[in-house]
Symmetry: C2
């Protein structure tokens, strides 16, 4: 029996201007999967540990056909006609329904760990497909904007899912991300269902200008340009109502010097970009205070540089 343990980071998807295509990885928060080979030729989950900070057992299915960590492994084993199975111990560091790419992280951690146990290892680009299967099984849709940065690290722009193509975008070194996770749960499927199926052409144009300015700002290392472009006129207005106090939290973060604030993935976590770690600390305090003013308490928060590495064997 061989085994490997992989840390896969939490990720912030959409990043205000890149709905379903843009995402980046955080540093210290993530899921950890220990995958062991077994002789019984099945895929199973031995244990799911809760390290998310919220109390009680996690509402995650142990059925391997329904768990993000194992769905990809089932297909991987089939495709490669492996004559052994995998057993997974999952330690969840990312809260369920937090909007921080938890199912993507579980899927990526398990697939990367399993891959490291193979005689002929697959390239990351191939692993993407298997991780996406796990993500899709749980959330009902493939979210490449979480899986890609979780697997590859940094900030990624997914150009197409099939065939899979992505490009890494630079992020100015001075940028720190603040993430605050209020203890309410937003189901990814519901957050998607409320979105209007159509976008007014004028809003498409405005959002495109923001996306273009944001990407140009990243390549030019132009924090001011990033700040001016950091505005989601499409998705955020539709989802903000799912997060009590979102407008106040955003205003408080901006007042403390955040260069941009929006919803992390489908929420309820809210993230901000700050031009330094120090500003990030003030922004975090202000965001927590604003949420508290709306009666929310006990929330988790992080300040993180963009994680350049993605999932890694530990």
């Amino acid at each position: 029996m061989k085994s490997a343990t992989v840390f896969a980071p939490a990720t912030v998807a959409n990043v205000a201007v890149g709905f379903d295509i843009l995402g980046f990885a955080l540093e210290s928060v993530g899921d950890v999967a220990t995958v062991s080979t077994t002789n019984d030729q099945t895929i199973s989950i031995k244990e799911i540990g809760n390290e998310t900070g919220s109390a009680g057992p996690l509402d995650i299915p142990l059925d391997p056909a329904k768990n993000a960590a194992t769905v990809g492994l089932i297909k991987l084993r089939e495709d490669l006609r492996l004559n052994f199975g995998f057993e997974v111990v999952l330690r969840k560091g990312i809260g369920l329904g937090s909007g921080m790419g938890g199912s993507a992280a579980s899927a990526v951690a398990a697939v990367v760990a399993a891959n490291s146990l193979l005689d002929a290892r697959l390239p990351k680009e191939t692993l993407f497909k298997y991780a996406l299967l796990g993500e899709r099984a749980v959330t009902g849709a493939a979210h490449p904007d979480n899986v890609a940065p979780c697997l590859f690290g940094g900030m990624t722009l997914v150009l197409s899912v099939n065939p899979f193509r992505y490009v890494s975008l630079p992020v100015p070194k001075e940028i720190f991300t603040v993430v605050v996770h209020p203890q309410i749960r937003v189901d990814t499927r519901s957050a998607r269902t409320i979105l209007a199926p159509n976008v007014p052409l004028a809003d498409h144009v405005r959002q495109s200008a923001n996306l273009g300015g944001f990407i140009a700002g990243c390549f030019l290392n132009d924090v001011k340009l990033i700040e001016q472009s950091f505005d989601d006129c499409l998705i955020e207005p539709q989802r903000a109502s799912l997060i009590p106090g979102f407008a106040q939290v955003k205003a408080a973060a901006t007042e403390q010097g955040a260069i941009g604030v929006s919803i992390s993935g489908s929420g309820p976590s809210v993230f901000a970009w700050a031009p330094s770690r120090e500003v990030g600390q003030r922004v975090r305090d202000a965001m927590i205070e604003a949420f508290s003013g709306r009666g929310l308490s006990g929330m988790d928060s992080w300040i993180s540089a963009v994680n350049p590495q993605g999932a890694r064997i530990i």
Copy 2:
């Protein structure tokens, strides 16, 4: 009496993936305005010359309140409370309704020429506003994606019109643009009217991925990435029917090595990007042949590097 003469280049707007925000300037084709100061404190058009290659007088109003070249001058004179007037001689090198930014070029040429006659000259960022007025008066809408590259040169992404903000995007040096102008006229207003007011969310996502990949490819000098991203899934499908033979022209250009083909502005001109001047020549021949196969003849065409300079005094 003082006078100045300015060449303002033709421009390709939209550039497949950046509807209403992206555009670039061509080298040798454009409009020329000679602006002279007058003592009679009016704005007038003395003459409009036709150097477009099409026969006969141009259908352009001589009324200064309705001509793209003079509308901006009227406002400029008002705002600056000038105690003199301007007389304009316009030489049109860009065909009317060609989709090559003709009204933007007339407006920019006149405004830049007039500005050079002022004691206190305005910065280009301010001139943008006056040129846009001229453009708007003629086409019924402000097209910053023509005016910006015409004025500043290179490839520009307009981030917002009011306040005016733009960013210059690099273009790989080996890229040459082919433009073919079939002798049919597409009215800009009509080309806009046929567009659906809404965009399906999935198409917005796909077009955003293309825009992001295109811009990243420009910064990374990655021609392959530009090629993969060079696909307009929103506007081109709606306008292609205005251009007889568009599908055949696009296929012919692609077969000859074009890395991307789309409609220039609102058409009917079709442009292609080629990875060298030599490929550009083959692409142009193929495009002309394909148009000819649809019964069109006597079309103008150009092969041009991206013009880094924009409008210039000559």
